[in-house]
């Protein structure tokens, strides 16, 4: 499949009063047309920053994209002028944010906030855009769209707001949709509805989807390929199948083993990953995970591992993973 979006060696740093935070430090990932990939990792590992960098929404100062390319259908988004970038945002690439409560303008009606992008990108008249907005609201499952469109964000529940965000994002039929932890702020039942909604829409419109989440259960069900991020870098990448059953990086192993499994007896306590996520201003030498890694060898603390193909179409940034079989056992 031809790649719709290729992120190559992307680095985004933040200049803070205590030093330079390397939030995203040389990241590679790509997504094909119509494909759904997942970006997984603990909070603070750079998932969201990498997504915002794609849309160049990093506030500057303090943030700055220091290196890398973001090829979208062949053109590098980082080289585009502000004007050209604006044509991409919302029309070609759209984004759904994590915090529904604060991501909608409190003083504008819901209908207005959806029809805005339509008027801009699709050059629709106010009335057509409003009618289309109503259709979208129904599409995302908001009852009495006619009346609710005139309401304001504070009159909607968290789940409903997230549906509005989805309606807003898909309004201009973007080629790529980035969902940054879309369901974190809502309860489980709504979570499933929203994800089914997004999957339905992306499949129907042939939209590629980058799903950013720390919820491994969601990844398994919806994403074809998975990128695991740690300390601003991709540490493992492969098909969901492969990564779940034959993880090639100790961090992924740790993540998977900290998820409760139905087929395990109830009493076994979950294993956690030791220590704290690393300080991105003074990252540990070598592999950033080595201080917390149960299988670390002296080389780990000296040289920084790059992504290597340890299994067919299955990459990992870990020296230990090169030995076969891996010291950690497969997950049945």
């Amino acid at each position: 499949m031809t790649a719709l979006l290729q992120v190559r060696n992307l680095s985004t740093y933040f200049h803070t009063q205590d030093g330079v935070v390397k939030a995203v430090d040389g990241v590679y990932y790509e997504v094909a047309k119509g494909e759904t990939i997942a970006l997984v990792g603990e909070s603070g590992c750079g998932k969201t920053v990498s997504a915002l960098s794609i849309l160049r929404l990093i506030p500057e100062p303090p943030g700055k994209i220091v290196s890398g390319e973001v090829l979208f259908e062949g053109t590098d988004l980082l080289k585009l002028s502000q004007e050209e970038m604006r044509k991409v945002r919302g029309a070609e690439i759209a984004m759904i944010f994590q915090e529904p409560m604060t991501s909608l303008n409190p003083v504008l009606t819901i209908g207005r906030q959806i029809s805005e992008a339509l008027e801009l990108h699709q050059q629709m008249t106010k009335q057509d855009a409003y009618k289309e907005a109503l259709r979208l609201l129904e599409l995302v499952g908001i009852p009495q769209a006619e009346r609710r469109a005139r309401d304001y964000p504070h009159q909607f529940s968290g789940g409903m707001r997230q549906r509005v965000m989805i309606a807003m994002a898909i309004s201009c039929r973007p080629k790529l949709l980035i969902a940054d932890e879309p369901t974190t702020a809502v309860d489980v039942t709504i979570q499933a509805q929203l994800l089914e909604l997004v999957r339905g829409i992306t499949r129907e419109l042939g939209t590629s989807l980058i799903l950013i989440t720390h919820n491994l259960g969601v990844v398994a069900r919806y994403a074809r390929r998975v990128y695991v991020m740690y300390a601003g870098r991709i540490v493992e990448h492969g098909t969901a199948q492969a990564v779940y059953h034959d993880p090639q990086h100790p961090y992924t192993v740790g993540l998977l083993s900290s998820v409760p499994r139905l087929d395990e007896p109830r009493k076994t306590h979950l294993s956690t990953i030791e220590g704290q996520p690393p300080d991105l201003i003074f990252p540990p030498s070598g592999c950033p995970f080595h201080p917390r890694c149960a299988y670390a060898i002296p080389k780990c603390s000296k040289d920084r591992p790059e992504l290597m193909e340890v299994e067919p179409a299955h990459y990992s940034a870990c020296w230990v993973a090169l030995q076969k079989p891996t010291p950690w056992k497969k997950i049945s």
């Binding site: 849309l55 929404l57 502000q82 604006r86 044509k87 991409v88 945002r89 919302g90 029309a91 759209a94 984004m95 944010f97 915090e99 604060t102 991501s103 909608l104 303008n105 409190p106 003083v107 504008l108 805005e116 992008a117 801009l120 990108h121 304001y152 504070h154 965000m165 807003m168």
Partner: protein
Amino acid sequence: MHKYLLRRILWLVPVLLAVAFITFSLMHLVPGGPWDREKALAPQVVENLNRKYGLDKPLFVQFGNFLWNALRGDLGVSYSFQDRGVTQILLSGLPKTATLGVIAFFLAILIGIPFGMAAALKQNSAVDYASVFFATIFASIPGFVLGILIMIIFSVVLHLLPTGGWGNVKHLIMPSFALAALPAAYIARITRASMLEVMRQDYVRTARAKGLAERIVLLRHILRNALIPVMTIAGPELAFLISGSFIIENLFSIPGVGRLFVQGVFARDYGLIMGSILFYAFAVAIVNLIVDILYAVVDPRIRYE
């Protein structure tokens, strides 16, 4: 909403009553009466004057008479202005003060908000410092000094504008600028502060993620939210401007209502004091009501039961 409006208007009565009572009592507690002068009047003349204006009656009777007449729109008679009716004096002065006040208010907005926005958008840049600097300079020169400086430059040196009085548009320019200086500086500062606050909100990032032009993001998303705190302070500034400023009207000899209260106090012109303070209280209460209603219009989160 209408129930709220009605309730607020009904509340006007106790507010005005309270203001009337406070002013009336303070007025009679303050030493010195309307007939005390450096060249003392004969006691008999003073007695006749008190009788003529009903000041010989007990205080609560006077207060009662005042309220009863005020209900019928007659705010009593002014001793220091040829026995003209206070209502009539206020009505003849109101258009002048109101015109000046409204012009000054819009000037303050047209200068203040853009300056504030520019300062916020280009924080810690030349524009930011320039706006802080001008806001401070205008804020730190008292009205009468700023007024006389403008008058010296445009009337005495350049002979472009008349120094004062009332007549055509040329009489409006200098006083309205002098009046607008402080509110403009104030609005600029508050706009800058609240713009900085709003620009950090998530919904601004959402707006940008939709690919909206920066101009639309600024006007439709940022400004609409940023202007709410500005409105809180714009209201009282408007009330202050509408009621007129003693200093500017005195300096530019504008026959408005702004100087009536102060002149009234210094002349112990009881009729004028009561009339002008009630008018001012009424104007302030109405403006505050308007601002509160505009609140609900601009910020849907605020609902009035």
